[in-house]
Amino acid sequence: MSIYREAYRSLFGKKATLGYPYRDREMVHLPDGFRGRMALKREACIGCTICEKDCPSTAITIIVDQKGKRPVFYLDKCMFCGQCQESCPTKAISFTKEFENAALSRGVMEVR
């Protein structure tokens, strides 16, 4: 019997799901510390290549730019575990709240 009361309650209650694409991005509440698309603070990076060695899904490759060695992140390989952020000795890697990272070309899915 009590299941009928529950059915009645959820029939007229607030919806639990959100429509996608979101009409209003403010409706999505992401907690602090959410692991979305990563960002690199270039001035903090010392090119130690530890992030490349520790990455479990080989989503990081090291390239050389004007300032020396630096990582490039490939979002199509990344599983957002956060180990690079954990291993970075200078805290140059951080994760943003940007989670809609799917794209049709792989070129867009690089974080340089």
Partner: protein, 374 residues
């Protein structure tokens, strides 16, 4: 003697609408009654143990986490304990309590997931939807606490990755209060609901003697009155400090397994409240060297589904020499085969097979890690 001239074979799986994961149950049926069953679980060999030998310990943390998405904390906790054991340096006290907290939070979401699946298997999808909506409470807390809903990457070698903040603690306590009310409701609703009682009471019987002799583990064994729980028998992490009541039942059927799991969720809620109230101060992580001393270590953890065993052999390098995992589902397969056979007055109907299978909380993709050749 049988009223039918011969027994028929009905294969269920490896692909079947009632199954979520690949397993073959080769049923021998006499009319509607299952008289014998052959179980083949090796359809999803993922080669993870071998893959672990080619990765460093840091990379393995994320490989081991993906053995089972639902019990990811249990797997990483077991892995972390093994590596810390080889180093001979246990995690800091605060990290230990945080690990128990994460583990119990995971138990809540896993048991709620199972409750939904059990409801689905008996054809009661309304309950399935309600339970999974309440599971979102625990998943939202996990996301705020660890950064992700399922593969949370929370535990690292030597401690945990994130500290508890007062905001998250407050959110957690609020969520626990809400969940406790919901669990009281489900306990009442399920024990009164005729649909559930008719499909689960007296179904999938397996007595305590059989459960003990077939070495069953987890809530499945506890629902037959066998009080096996690694948290109480061989305390790891901070389980020596956190009081835990081993929930048992003596109905030995699917209904008791539902009730035991509901009560375990309540126990986990209490454990989380205790952890939040008794969180010691101090560091949450101690950095350990990348090279692990040579030796063997076996660690046991109570995953939501039962006892989970990890074995690691190190040769002193930064990669394991051998890694071996035994998941709880594997320990429960002999009991499953026994439960599915009609003997004497105990009959198993074909329609009861999905819910009996679901009652051990199977996770075959975690289990199949060997292949018989030839």
């Amino acid at each position: 003697m049988s009223s039918y001239e011969r027994l028929f074979d009905i294969p269920i799986g490896p692909q079947h609408p009632a199954l979520k994961e690949p397993v073959l149950l080769n049923l021998k049926v006499d009319g509607e009654h299952v008289v014998d069953v052959g179980v083949d679980i090796s359809y999803n060999h993922r080669g993870m143990e071998k893959a672990a030998e080619y990765r460093t310990y840091v990379q393995n943390l994320y490989l081991i986490e993906r053995v089972c998405g639902i019990c990811n904390i249990a797997h990483t906790l077991s892995f972390g304990t093994a590596i810390e054991g080889l180093h001979g340096k246990p995690a800091p006290e605060r990290a230990k309590v945080l690990r128990v907290l994460a583990e119990e939070l995971e138990r809540i979401q896993s048991h709620l997931l199972w409750l939904g699946i059990a409801a689905h298997e008996i054809g009661f999808d309304t309950l399935f939807m309600y339970v999974w909506l309440d599971r979102e409470i625990s998943l939202d807390i996990m996301e705020a606490f660890a950064g992700n809903r399922i593969t949370s990457s929370y535990i690292s070698i030597g401690g945990v990755k994130r500290d508890m903040t007062p905001e998250i603690a407050g959110k957690m306590l609020k969520g626990m209060d809400k969940l406790e009310g919901r669990m009281a409701y489900y306990r009442k609703a399920i024990s009164e609901e005729r649909t559930v009682l008719k499909r689960t009471q007296g179904v999938g019987l397996l007595g305590a003697a059989d459960v003990a002799s077939l070495s069953a583990v987890g809530p499945f064994a506890r629902a037959s009155g066998v009080a096996v729980d690694v948290r109480a028998d061989d305390p790891y992490a901070a389980h020596e400090l956190v009081p835990i009541k081993v929930v048992t039942g003596d109905g030995c059927d699917v209904f008791t397994r539902i009730m035991v799991r509901i009560d375990e969720v309540v126990e986990s809620i209490n454990a989380i409240r205790f952890c939040l109230g008794h969180l010691p101060s101090g560091p949450i992580l101690q950095r350990l060297p990348r090279r692990v001393p040579a030796g063997d270590f076996l660690s046991r953890v109570e995953a939501p589904r039962g006892e989970l065993t990890h074995f690691v052999r190190s040769d002193g390098s930064d990669k394991p020499y051998r890694y071996k995992i035994k998941t709880p589902t594997f320990s429960n397969i002999p009991s499953l085969a026994k439960m599915l056979k009609s003997t004497g007055r105990y009959v198993v109907n074909i329609a009861d097979v999905p819910v009996i299978l679901a009652s051990i909380d199977p996770c075959f993709s975690c289990t199949a890690r060997f292949e018989r050749i030839g």
